[in-house]
């Protein structure tokens, strides 16, 4: 097999595998937003506080997915 094609193949597969980590971030965001929506339904008066904390929690959960994204970006664009 052409060595360059092998490299491209390996990079693509590796980047795709690295993005599996984004599933964790997705689950976390789903849980936190689900909890926040329930809380907002129970006491709508506290919506602003809940919303702020929800967005922060979502950002932290998203960060985990972003680590996976960084790894796959490094595989794609930095590794030679």
């Amino acid at each position: 097999m052409d060595p360059q094609a092998t490299i491209v193949l390996g990079k693509a597969i590796g980047a795709g595998l690295a993005m599996i980590g984004a599933a964790g971030g997705g689950i976390g965001i789903g849980l936190s937003v689900g909890g926040a929506v329930q809380a907002m339904g129970r006491n709508p008066d506290h919506t602003p506080t809940i919303q702020t904390n929800m967005i922060l929690g979502v950002a932290f959960a998203e960060a985990v997915a972003i680590y996976a994204l960084v790894v796959s970006l490094i595989i794609l664009f930095v590794l030679n």
Partner: protein
Amino acid sequence: MNSFWNGKRRYVALLLFLAGVFVALEVPPVIPFIQLPGENLPAGYNIPFTDIRITNTLVAAVIVWLLLLLFLVYIARRRPSDGSEVPPGGFYNMFEALYEGLMGFIGGIAGGPHFRLIFNMFMTIFLIVLLSNWMSLVPGIDTVGFIHPHVKEKYDVEKDEYKVITTDGFEIYQGFLGISYVNGQCNWISPADEAAADATALAAAEAARAAAEQDLLVEAAYDRYKAAHDGHGDDAGGESSGDAHAEDDHAPAVAESDAAAAAYDEVLAARVAEKQARADRGCYTGVAVSPWQDGYIAADDKAKKAPIPLHPDPSSDEAKRVPWVVLPWVRVASTDLNMTLTLAIIAVVMVQYVGVKALGIGYFTKFFNFATLFKSPLGGIDVAVGLLELIGDFAKILSFSFRLLGAMFAGAILLFVMSFLVPILPWPFFILEFFVGAIQALVFALLTAIFMQLATISHHHDDDHDHAEAH
């Protein structure tokens, strides 16, 4: 002014949309060329009196600093010195509302004796990161810059200078967002690979010729054998068969050379056609006209070593040797690890600073907790936990820097790719990036504030309290 624009803004939006359609049709978008590290500006753009090259992300960072400076000067001038009320309205009012809101927010999290320090740190980081992130929404940033050959700069240690050499294979460099200028349709093939492909074609041609010759020889031998056999078997036609034999002997010799040469040419013609097709698209196809001539590889080696100027005339033959990309003048600072890592180190150092300020030298017992090692049966666990805290503080640097870098770099790529896929309507993604930039700035600054607040709390005090309660 206001009455003039009432009800007319929608037409401005429509006009912009139509302009987007026109531009997308007139100037087809190109696949972006993406590179993670910040690009060096071309030779000559050094930090004065040093050899350190300026990167385009540094340009963006300096712009952010200057904007913040202007902003602070404006706020300070606008604020009355006698403490009287400022008439509401305008930018100052908006900033005051933001400032007060964030002050209340941080006051709820870190409203202790170190509130001023924590809030100052929070606000500084928040404003710097916010401005950096929102720069990716400004037209022209990341997209306008030097048209640059798709080549690599290399530092020559012996001559102590930067050299520009052609790239080969995967050693591709320069250009965050690539607009291929001359050779957009070329897959860059290095001279070495070209030579290898030529050698392969040559070998295949030789093999084809040898095979053709072999076939002809076998055929001729078979003919000769058959003729001899026939001659031997049939005595009556002996003379005529001898004539035929002589003719057969002669004819294959001509056919042999013709067929072998044809096979040779046929195989090489495919390679020639391939190179010609690339040349027709304006791609670099090597130096010598006939690649299978002996001089080719030597000439190509020479061309490989010949430096290409950073700004060759696009119409020259020299320019055709390389593909071209854009090296943006300004690239969003937070897409460079240097910027985010620096901010992360500053944040973590400030966490240690406020910890020492609040708890004195005893703050470090958080990391090196040998006090209970021989007193309590679980003292060893305390030591391990302290060391884990130490590792955790280093991990904070990594998580801070990679979170911001990942979010903003991915956002930049998202904008490029969407501008490429839907050139007419990429703006929903700009709105998304607006929020992502704000949230990431808030998260970075807020985490700093929270960690600083946590560092001011003494764990020992809690332990003693628990002990007292237990007793």
